[in-house]
């Protein structure tokens, strides 16, 4: 029987060292070509996060640069537009304004670019013509919390409902729940503004259930009182619900499709063979895996979502950065326009970073293989 005795070490051997010349190999450590075993990895996926950080820096640079060049390609001159709005400013006054805005320089484009960066790094975004020559940073800081609050909240809720719903629909494939998919898809193909206007016409004008817009009631000022919070919730309800309705379909469809793919994986079958209750298989095994691509596309779709708020703010008179941008663009208020665009891009990047970190911790594989 000796011939049958494989000469394989049964004890786990340390990893073969570099100049290992012996013929004993550790069968345990060698899988197929597709696998290499790893040991002693770090729990925090530094490499993955580092790679992402580099990418975000690059994107940030690109966004700032685009931001720098855009207004310089636009027609029309901010000061003359301003003068036209405030009729009959004297020519001297106009020159003064130009000086204030730094538009009178005859510096080279490159010098302007450097200046732009140095201002930016000092947090100086210039002053807004459209808002009484107030610093852009101040103008934006008034609006940003509302946008981030409402849109962030609605997006997360929509993501959560869509993902959970999609998981259930996918799990119970072929059941009546499937009808939810075409319904939510239909809702998400409706233009958002149309939905919003209809919602106002029905719920605010006819039924008077909700105020017709704005973030809180007339004569209130932001403070941490129950009344104020109640106002904010009451006012935010319709915009939030319409955002949720309009964006639910995508999340639901994505999750459901991913579930259908995951449900055919072996580990689901294993879990069921293990005698796991359905609920545990659904959430612990299937949904847990299916959600990963969702998280990734969540990160990527944030830019898209933020864009959508412009319309929301118009329809609901909501005090956000979207309308600010639209007005700034129309009025050629470049400093404000650049500021808003920068802030929007920044928030998208921040959201992406968060989603990335979440992804990295949800998917142990990123901790090793990188993006």
């Amino acid at each position: 029987m000796t011939a049958l005795q494989p000469q394989i070490p049964t004890e786990e051997a340390p990893l073969p060292s570099g100049d290992n010349n012996t013929d004993t190999i550790d069968a345990l450590e060698v899988g197929t070509t597709a696998t290499t075993a790893s040991k002693g990895h770090s729990r925090i996926p530094w490499r993955f996060l580092g790679g992402r950080a580099l990418f975000y820096l690059f994107t940030l640079w690109a966004a700032v640069t685009i931001n720098f060049f855009l207004p310089r390609m636009m027609k029309g001159d901010a000061v003359s537009a301003y003068l036209a709005r405030n009729r009959n400013i004297s020519p001297e006054a106009a020159d003064g304004l130009r000086a204030l805005l730094g538009l009178d320089t005859d510096k080279s484009l490159f010098e302007q670019y450097i200046d732009y960066w140095s201002h930016l790094l000092r947090g100086d975004l210039g002053v807004s013509l459209l808002h009484g020559l107030r610093p852009v940073a101040e103008v934006i800081s008034q609006s940003l919390p509302w946008t981030v609050g409402l849109v962030g909240f609605a997006t997360i809720v929509s993501f959560a409902i869509g993902t959970i719903g999609g998981a259930i629909v996918g799990w119970r494939r072929g059941s009546r729940l499937d009808a939810l998919i075409p319904i939510t898809t239909f809702l998400s193909t409706i233009p958002y503004f149309w939905l919003g206007l209809l919602a106002i016409a029905v719920f605010s004008v006819n039924l008077r259930w909700f105020p017709i817009g704005k973030a809180y009631g007339v004569g209130m000022s932001p403070e941490w009182t129950l009344e104020f919070i109640g106002q904010v919730l009451h006012h935010g309800f319709l915009p939030a619900v319409t955002i949720i309705i309009a964006s639910l379909g995508g999340w639901m469809l994505g999750m459901r499709n991913m579930m259908l793919t995951v449900l055919d994986e072996d580990y689901i079958m294993v879990a069921q063979a293990k005698g796991m209750p359905n609920r545990r298989v659904l959430w612990g095994y299937a949904a847990r895996n299916a959600v990963l691509p969702q998280v990734q596309s969540f990160a990527l779709s944030i830019g898209f979502i933020v864009g959508g708020t412009i319309v929301m703010e118009m329809v609901f008179s909501y005090p956000g950065v979207g309308k600010l941008l639209l007005d700034a663009t129309n009025a050629k208020d470049y400093a404000l326009m650049q500021g808003v665009f920068l802030v929007i891009t920044l928030s998208v990047l921040v959201a992406n970073v968060l989603a990335d970190v979440a992804y990295a911790f949800l998917d142990p594989r990123t901790r090793q293989t990188g993006a």
Binding site: I8, V30, G31, T32, A34, T35
Partner: protein
């Protein structure tokens, strides 16, 4: 007490698609306590369907169209598997019959540590166990299959193919079942790793005394490890006999053909016409 563990009678499974596929047809066999039964046959002959079908693991469109599967429990109780309802079957699974699946690569949940996947089994089937008891049990299992208890916190992708397959075996062992079904547990593995795993399986079987249904299409391998071998073809068992008899005295033409399509490592040449 009879020494039969599982009696399969006139068992048929059909995939109710267009046109319907009768994947397993009128299969009869008895599995003895403690034996390794090899199941061989070419791809698509119904091995997997049979192995899954007896514990009703197949999903629609599969339907069991006839026959009975009786599990003779160690306690002396006979369980007719087709009579169990969903909840009973859920509790029955893994406790009495466990499985090692084809392709360990995908059989583990990629986002959960192997420790937690092992603990799952105890949590569901042994709710009385405390957290630390569970952890100790998991460590013990991992030690038994020589993966090492400290690997408890590893994720599947951090293990080699061989180690993953061992984790699967550990999982199958968790509740000390009386029957372990192994569906091509080594096909994706390297020859050396494969041999090591097989060695371990038979070691464990001696230690714990469970029966094994071992599926593969690698007949030479099966001949070495099985007590008895069933040869399947187009959904039917065409021959079932001890490994030695199958090797030395195959009865069915198909068995003969199968045997002749494997070149012998040490036998005379000539199979491949050079």
């Amino acid at each position: 007490m009879s020494d039969a563990l599982l009696s399969v009678n006139n068992f048929s499974v059909m995939y109710d698609v267009e046109p319907p596929v009768e994947a397993v047809r009128n299969v009869d066999f008895t599995l003895r306590r403690g034996e390794i039964l090899g199941l061989a046959g070419e791809s698509g002959c119904g091995k997997t369907t049979l192995a899954y079908g007896i514990q009703r693991l197949l999903k629609a469109p599969a339907v069991i169209t006839s026959g009975s599967v009786v599990f003779h429990d160690g306690s002396g109780e006979d369980v007719e598997i087709s009579q169990l309802d969903v909840e009973e079957l859920r509790r029955f699974r893994w406790d009495k019959i466990s499985m090692v699946f084809q392709g360990a690569m995908n059989a583990l949940n990629p986002v959960a540590t192997i420790g937690s996947q092992l603990e799952d089994v105890y949590q569901v089937h042994r709710p009385a166990m405390s957290k630390s008891e569970r952890r100790d049990a998991v460590v013990e299992l991992l030690e038994i299959v020589k993966v090492g208890g400290e690997r408890r916190r590893s994720f599947p992708h951090e293990l080699s193919g061989g180690m993953r397959q061992r984790v699967m075996i550990a999982m199958a062992l968790a509740l000390r079942p009386q029957l372990m079904v192994m569906d091509e547990p080594t096909t994706a593995l390297d020859v050396l790793v494969q041999r090591e795993i097989l060695r371990q399986i038979s070691e464990l079987r001696h230690k714990f005394g469970f029966s094994v249904i071992f599926i593969t299409h690698d007949l030479p391998l099966l001949l070495e490890i099985s007590d008895r071998i069933a040869i399947m073809r187009e959904g039917e068992i065409v021959e079932i006999n001890t490994a030695e008899r199958i090797w030395s005295d195959p009865q069915d033409d198909y068995t003969k053909k199968l045997l002749s399509s494997f070149p012998r490592l040490t036998g005379e040449k000539g199979l491949v016409s050079r």
